[in-house]
C-alpha cells in the first residue's frame, strides 16, 4: 500500500508545478487536502484558471465518497474521544480505509483497533508527503513538451475503467462524458459540475430497478 503511493505522489508534484502552482502551495496541498484524485483534479483546474468556488465544489464532489468510509467506521470508532475521531478522519483515505476495513470486522480487540487505522493512515500520509515533495522538486526539471499533464488524465482512466461493472456505471460514464463535451463552452468550467451531476443522475436512475428487484 505504501510503496504504491510513491509514483502517484511524484506525478502529482510534477503536475502541480506544471500547472503553475508555487512549490510551497503544491506541497501544502498534499497535507491540507490529502486526497490523491482531488489533488490531481486541482492541478487540472488550476492549470485551466478555474474560479475558486468551483474548485472547492469539484473537490467536495470527488471526495464525497469518503462519507461512505466515515459511515462504515462510525460505529467502531464511537468510543473514542473527539480528538481521536478528528485525527482519524483527517487520515481517512481510500487506501487507509481499504487496508483496515477487514481487520475491523475480524476479532481484533475493540480497544486497540483504532491504532490499525492510525498506523495505516499515518504511514500513507508520511510516504505521500515525501513523494509529493520529491515530485515538486522534479517538476521544475521536466520540459513542457513531455506532455506530462496527460499522466493526470491517464490516472483518472485507470481509476474509472475498473469501476465499470454494469449498465448503470457505464451509463454514468457515457452521460458524464457527453455532457462534459456538450457543456464545454460554459464559463467557469461549469461543465465539470454539470457533467458530474448528469452522470450521477443517470447512474442512480438506471441502478434503481435492479436494487428494487
Amino acid at each position: 500500500m505504501l510503496a504504491g503511493a510513491i509514483p502517484f505522489g511524484l506525478i502529482y508534484g510534477v503536475l502541480a508545478v506544471k500547472a503553475g502552482m508555487s512549490p510551497l502551495l503544491a506541497i501544502a496541498i498534499a497535507s491540507i487536502v490529502f486526497a490523491g484524485s482531488a489533488q490531481f483534479m486541482l492541478t487540472q483546474l488550476v492549470a485551466a484558471a478555474t474560479p475558486g468556488a468551483l474548485m472547492v465544489l469539484s473537490v467536495f464532489v470527488i471526495n464525497l465518497r469518503h462519507a461512505l468510509y466515515s459511515a462504515a467506521l462510525a460505529d467502531k470508532l464511537q468510543p473514542l474521544s473527539l480528538r481521536w475521531k478528528a485525527l482519524l478522519a483527517y487520515l481517512l483515505t481510500d487506501e487507509a480505509y481499504a487496508a483496515v476495513i477487514r481487520r475491523f470486522d475480524s476479532n481484533v480487540s475493540p480497544g486497540t483497533r483504532h491504532w490499525f487505522l492510525f498506523g495505516a493512515g499515518f504511514g500513507l500520509w508520511f510516504v505521500w508527503q515525501l513523494a509529493c515533495v520529491a515530485g515538486v522538486l522534479l517538476g521544475g526539471q521536466i520540459p513542457a513538451h513531455w506532455s506530462l499533464d496527460f499522466a493526470g488524465t491517464l490516472t483518472f482512466i485507470a481509476i474509472v475503467v475498473p469501476l465499470l461493472r454494469d449498465r448503470a456505471t457505464w451509463a454514468a460514464m457515457f452521460v458524464a462524458g457527453l455532457v462534459s463535451l456538450l457543456a464545454f463552452a460554459l464559463p467557469y468550467k461549469l461543465s465539470i459540475i454539470a457533467a458530474a451531476l448528469a452522470g450521477m443522475t443517470a447512474g442512480v436512475v438506471l441502478d434503481h430497478p435492479r436494487e428494487a428487484a
Partner: protein, 102 residues
C-alpha cells in the same frame, strides 16, 4: 493568495466529509439513496475531466488525435489488467510515440 484560500476551503470540505458520520457518533445512519448515489461520484466526476482532454485538447476530434488514441489504448490496458501504473505507462508511451512521428 486567493488560491491559498481555495485550497484551505477544499481541505476543510474534505475533512468535514471524512469526519461526518464518525463525528456524529452513529446517531445518524447513511441514507440508502445517498449511498447509491455515491457509487457513481468518482465515475461521473473523473470522466468529466477525461473526455474533454481526449477529444477537445487539440480543438477538433479526429481518430488520429494522439491523446484520443493513447487514452483509448490506456483504457483497454486498465480494463484487462486493472493495473494503474501500467495504464499510465502505456498511455504515455503511445502519446510520446505519436508525437515523435508527427
Amino acid at each position: 493568495m486567493s488560491l491559498w484560500l481555495t485550497v484551505i476551503a477544499a481541505g476543510i470540505a474534505t475533512f468535514v466529509i471524512r469526519l461526518s458520520f464518525i463525528g456524529m457518533a452513529g446517531r445518524i445512519a447513511i441514507a440508502p439513496w445517498f449511498e447509491r448515489m455515491l457509487r457513481f461520484v468518482p465515475i461521473a466526476a473523473l470522466t468529466a475531466l477525461v473526455w474533454p482532454d481526449l477529444l477537445l485538447a487539440s480543438g477538433a476530434a479526429t481518430l488520429g488525435e494522439p491523446r484520443l488514441l493513447a487514452g483509448l489504448a490506456a483504457a483497454c490496458v486498465a480494463w484487462q489488467t486493472r493495473n494503474t501504473l501500467l495504464t499510465i505507462a502505456v498511455g504515455m508511451m503511445i502519446l510520446w510515440g505519436m508525437q515523435w512521428l508527427q
